[in-house]
């Protein structure tokens, strides 16, 4: 089943284009979350990065998936800065590797792309679940997807479970004290607020889900 479920370059390009659009739309929402427990720039930072991506996407889509994702990641790394730049930069740069220079991937390969990308985020940021970061959304999401694949769940449904899991993970950050990032200096005052990076991670996964065939 998974070998026949193909995600081609057009899919990835569409996901990225939609992502760029939704980042603009959600910019002030994300920035608002970051105002509460950070420095109020998460939405703007992503917007700066994805504007750069949008500017070049027409050009870059000529490349294979590995290079396309790498260029996207490099643009985020180069333009976003802060914590989100290196973290999301690594996510996208690394995601391309399992695509191995191809123009399309099957669902197994797609899973590997996500796995490698999310692990790169963990490696870079050294955060684990429960520290009130994007990892609280990404790690459970990846585990859920792995489980669903183990059970042989149909691709789009499997991804839906993944997304649900990401959202629960995002919401699980609300009662937490932060142990990583800017919010860690806040102590108890961070309690009661969603982590902005967990929220943006859900938005990213949602775009992958929405565009699945």
């Amino acid at each position: 089943m998974y070998e026949n479920y193909v995600l081609d370059k057009a899919y990835f390009v569409k996901v990225i284009a939609d992502l760029a659009a939704i980042v603009e739309e959600q910019r002030d929402y994300l920035t608002g979350l970051d105002s509460a427990i950070g420095d109020g720039d998460h939405g703007l930072n992503l917007s700066i990065g994805f504007r750069e991506v949008t500017k070049n996407l027409g050009e870059w889509q000529k490349e294979n998936l590995t290079i396309l994702m790498k260029k996207i990641g490099m643009a985020l790394l180069g333009k976003v800065g802060g914590s989100a730049g290196p973290l999301y930069g690594s996510l996208f740069m690394k995601m391309g590797e399992p695509a191995a220079g191809k123009d399309a991937v099957d669902f197994n390969e797609f899973y590997n792309m996500l796995k490698v990308g999310i692990e790169a985020v963990e490696m870079r940021g050294k955060a684990v679940v429960g520290e009130k970061t994007m990892v609280d959304a990404l790690r459970p999401a990846l585990d859920t997807l792995a489980g669903a694949i183990e059970e042989g769940v149909e691709p789009k449904t499997a991804f839906e479970k993944m997304l649900d899991s990401a959202k629960s993970g995002r919401d699980s950050t609300i009662p937490l004290i932060a142990k990583k990032g800017r919010a860690m200096r806040l102590g108890e005052r961070a309690i009661g607020h969603v982590d902005p990076g967990a929220a943006s991670s859900c938005i990213i996964l949602e775009m992958f889900y929405k565009n699945m065939p």
């Binding site: 509460a36 420095d39 790394l77 333009k79 800017r182």
Partner: protein
């Protein structure tokens, strides 16, 4: 409060364009990287390269301290946001004179991620880059290594830069920076939020009577919110936190920095300094030199911080060492 800007997405580039034009006798942008402000004298022969940096919106920090006898380059991020790895790396390439470089910046997760990647890239070119994180904000954590850097940046950068200017090697320069950081403590209060260029709105709202104690310079919330109080009371609280933390004790000699977060005028800062000086005198602590003004700001935020640097003969010599930059000149 209102800002005088054009497109919010262009603020950093336009500021930099204005900056290097206004101060062209001192600095330029790297030709191939518009986020690196370099001293016109760099690389300086036989000198360790001094590289500082971080988000924009704290001017004159960081770029204002690039010049002779101070930093060789500043790496510039977006508003309140660490620069990305490439300009960190490009700064090294531009200022290294064969003796290696020292990165210095405030201890923030984002900055560490990006500067570390820059250092990795430089090490692949065989250039040694060391890092000293500034951790002066006493209220940001119990653990010193988790504390963030605020106005104490100024002292740590100044001391290390003077050591480098005197011809020390990278290990010695790093040691001087670490010693300065170990002897520096700060604490601030905010009376209003900064206005984000992107939204034209304050990062957060504060009541007419509120004051945020221990606010950082990015608009991160402080340790607690309190009622606004007379200047002397505010300074008393700040000094009660700072003095025992190192501790600073009778017989010590210090330098004091009373820093404006942006909108708090020199008038108020000097009223605050008056109280700081009274307390230090009571405690038998001698002031070698005081600095009062906007040294590390958060755009148009109202508020101030007090920083103490405990001096010994070496630190005193390095602090007094002459320098000439657009925003700090010392004869």
């Amino acid at each position: 409060m209102k800002r005088l800007i054009n497109d919010p997405y262009d603020v950093v580039e336009e500021m930099l364009e204005g900056y290097v034009k206004a101060h062209e006798q001192y600095v330029k942008l790297l030709e191939h990287d518009g986020r690196v402000v370099v001293s016109k004298k760099a690389p300086v022969e036989n000198k360790v390269g001094i590289i500082i940096g971080g988000g924009s919106g704290h001017e004159p920090l960081f770029l204002g301290y690039v010049g002779e006898g101070f930093a060789d380059a500043a790496v510039i991020g977006n508003i309140n946001t660490s620069p990305s790895p490439e300009p960190c790396y490009n700064a090294v390439k531009a200022v290294d004179a064969g003796k290696g470089c020292l990165y210095m910046y405030g201890n923030y997760a984002g900055d560490v991620l990006n500067f570390d990647m820059g250092a990795e890239m430089a090490s692949m070119d065989g250039i040694r880059v060391e890092t000293v994180l500034v951790t002066d904000d006493v209220v940001s954590s119990k653990e010193i290594k988790d504390r963030r850097g605020v106005a104490g940046d100024f002292y740590v950068f100044k001391i290390a830069a003077a050591k480098a200017a005197l011809g020390a090697d990278l290990d010695e320069v790093k040691a001087a920076a670490e010693k300065a950081n170990a002897n520096t403590r700060s604490m601030g209060v905010a009376l209003s939020s900064a206005t984000l260029p992107s939204t034209g709105k304050p990062i957060f709202e504060m009541g007419e009577e509120d004051m945020e104690i221990g606010m950082g310079i990015h608009g991160e919330p402080g340790v607690r919110r309190g009622k606004i109080e007379p200047a002397d009371k505010v300074i008393d609280q700040i000094m009660e936190h700072i003095l025992p933390d190192l501790p600073y004790e009778s017989g010590d000699e210090v330098s004091v920095l009373v820093n404006s977060l942006g909108a708090t005028p020199l008038l108020d800062l000097h009223i605050c300094y008056r109280r700081v000086a009274q307390i230090l005198k009571e405690k038998g602590i001698k002031v070698h030199k005081a600095f009062v003004g906007p040294f590390a700001t958060s755009m148009d935020m109202a508020g101030m911080s007090v920083t103490l640097l405990k001096l010994d003969d070496e630190l005193k010599e390095l602090l007094d060492y002459p320098c000439d930059t657009p925003y700090f000149v010392q004869k």
